[in-house]
Amino acid sequence: MQDKPVVLLFEEAIGFSKLELGSKGYGLVEMVKLGLPVPPGLIIPTYVCRKYYSTGFLPAELLTSLLEKLDIVGEKLGRKFGYLEKPLLVSVRSGAPVSMPGMMDTILNLGINDEIASALASETGNKQFAYETYLRFIKNFSKIVFKIPDDELDSLLKISLKNFNSENFSDLLMEDQEKVLRDLVELIREKAGVPFPKDPLDQLKMAVEAVFKSWNNPRAKTYRRIYNIPDDLGTAVIIQAMVFGNLKPKSGTGVCFTRDPSTGEKVLYGEYLMNAQGEDIVSGEKNPKPIEELKKELPEIYEQLKRFAEILERHFKDMQDIEFTIQEGKLYILQTRSGKRTIKAAVKIAVDMVKEGLITEKEALERVELEKLVYLLKPSVNTKVDVKPLTKGLNASPGAAMGKVVFTVSDAIIYSRKGEPVILVRPETKPEDIQGIAAAVGVLTSRGGMTSHAAVVARALGKPAVTGAEEIQIDLDHELFRVRDIVVKKLDMITIDGNTGNVYIGSVPLVNPEPIPELKELLEWARKYGKSVKIT
């Protein structure tokens, strides 16, 4: 520890492990290595967090080291942290080796105060940008460091705006905006019980401590316990120069996947917003545009993004989820990570990547959760065939099943042992029915909703179920059920469709889900490498 630096510039962190840099930090350093346009920044490695927890204090050399290295970061952009002339603003993020709930979110625009906001307004000639940036910082910092919820912050802002007879911050004159922000900071001070930090260095120190503290908040601790993540990993802190997607013109922000996360198709997939910061996309307050429109709006940027996406995918050998910002016509990549995908997309991506020579067949098998393949293979009723359903209930557990009607657990067990598929029909299910559900190919109940015990058990066992089919009148004594004047007796054939809730008399043509051509290959590889796949 003594020899290890407490702060690393991205370029100095090359060669450090993911355990030391956290996954976000590691991703950023890899991008720097690849020569991609990443806003400059630095990382406080995880071992500093561990030291903080063993001593209770930030290491003495941390602040000086931070300032020294922030100077280097600033120099790259011709800016300086905490200075009025060409001020450098930064983002502060947590970055544990494993992502987990409860960890501190991002603080954006840190390093701003009344004077710096005013200087930024003069420098950019864009007052609205400068004061909105300041407002965003005040709200963001107060929420994360002082733990004041969004709605309370909004009401405090409303109180401050009231004195100026306005409801909208952006409608105000610049001097009024300054006053509103001063009032807001005062209200936040009262609420938080501590002064809002004006000195950018104090802001930075508080943000770093907030990241470290978030490692041990109850939510993160519980999560680590559940998912067996060691408590002593610690988190890294990433401090990175801000680039502004809300600095007009030709500025914007977006997210994109290197492949379509729902189909796996190899296309750039995502969305972006012009004149906005990253949080605007997540908040859903503004409507983002699909990424293809960027091709028309800023064709050069689109082409660059496509090229970078390709580079990142080839490097990480997996589909990437990329965050980017465009500042006055220049593209920056802010973050990259493996993208979440549907099971269908996972299959296609894994097989395609083997064909593209990115991964091996064995790696492809590891990329797909084989036990979830069962959901891809569940049949449904062929809707193209004109068969009228007998009745309809709730689609409680997906998949379709055909079988002979039985009304008791013992019959379900007896007939299924004979190899005959049965559907257990009950008014509702009780604990004694669990064995029957396990033996049957599907479950039909006349009472109970999506959340009924029958539905819970069927889903847990992966069996199709239709619940709450209220038209069905079950006569357990005579082992039959009626729907209007139609009688269905024990051992009559029925079909249930857990995708739609429909119930049919007899066998209805079923269709397998739209075939995924890649699945066949993946299953062949599974056989080849002796991996068992449950597909029924």
């Binding site: 709930p101 509702e428 604990p431 015990h453």
Partner: protein, 202 residues
């Protein structure tokens, strides 16, 4: 039945599951010798039958347990209080079943898809919801078992499932072939319905 608590517990369990492996009776947490003598007593009195390793409740046993429950409730001087607790349990039950459903399936763009447990925030919110339900349920069971001590066993069973789940054994949420939280809940719910004479609201 001599009204021994062990025999009552075993017969209640048989009444809920009808026929069970002897091994599965271990969940009741009775010492081996007590469990064995309870089983022997039930068989001797014709309340249960044993075929190989399976025990099945008889018609006589069904009547006996209903009778025992009725007598217990009628002779209970805190009957109204107990029934009020049962109603409170029904309220928690609604939240619990919603929670389990969200654990199993997610709604994305109006389509229900199985939860693949790939979103830590989503799962965590549900597990936190379960922690609240667990706390309420244990408090309620504490009060209920002051009135009917045979219910006390559910407390340790829930605690065990909860702790296994919270240490990463996700199957202990709803797997029907484990003593999962839902398995125990389903059984307790049935026991309370039978004790109180209330009807299941699905």
């Amino acid at each position: 039945m001599e009204n021994s608590i062990s025999s009552f517990l075993v017969l209640n369990y048989l009444n809920i599951f009808k026929n069970v492996d002897i091994e599965s009776l271990e969940v009741l947490g009775l010492p081996d010798s007590e469990l064995q003598s309870a089983i022997n007593e039930l068989i001797k009195k014709g309340f249960a039958r044993k075929i190989n390793d399976t025990i099945t409740i008889s018609e006589l046993g069904e009547r006996e347990i209903e009778n025992c429950r009725r007598i217990l409730l009628e002779n209970c001087d805190r009957k109204d209080e107990f029934l009020e607790y049962c109603r409170m349990f029904e309220e928690i039950n609604k939240d619990f079943k919603n929670l389990i459903t969200r654990w199993q399936i997610k709604e994305i763009d109006g389509e229900l898809i199985p939860n693949d447990h790939s979103d830590p925030e989503y799962d965590m919110a549900i597990l936190e919801g379960l922690a609240e339900i667990h706390e309420k349920t244990i408090k309620l069971l504490d009060k209920m078992s002051e009135i009917f001590p045979f219910l006390k066993g559910y407390i340790s069973r829930f605690e065990k499932a909860f702790s296994l789940l919270m240490s990463g054994n996700l199957g202990y949420m709803a797997d029907p072939d484990k003593q999962s939280y839902h398995t125990i809940w389903f059984e307790l719910h049935e026991t309370l319905l039978k004790m109180s004479g209330m009807r299941r609201i699905e």
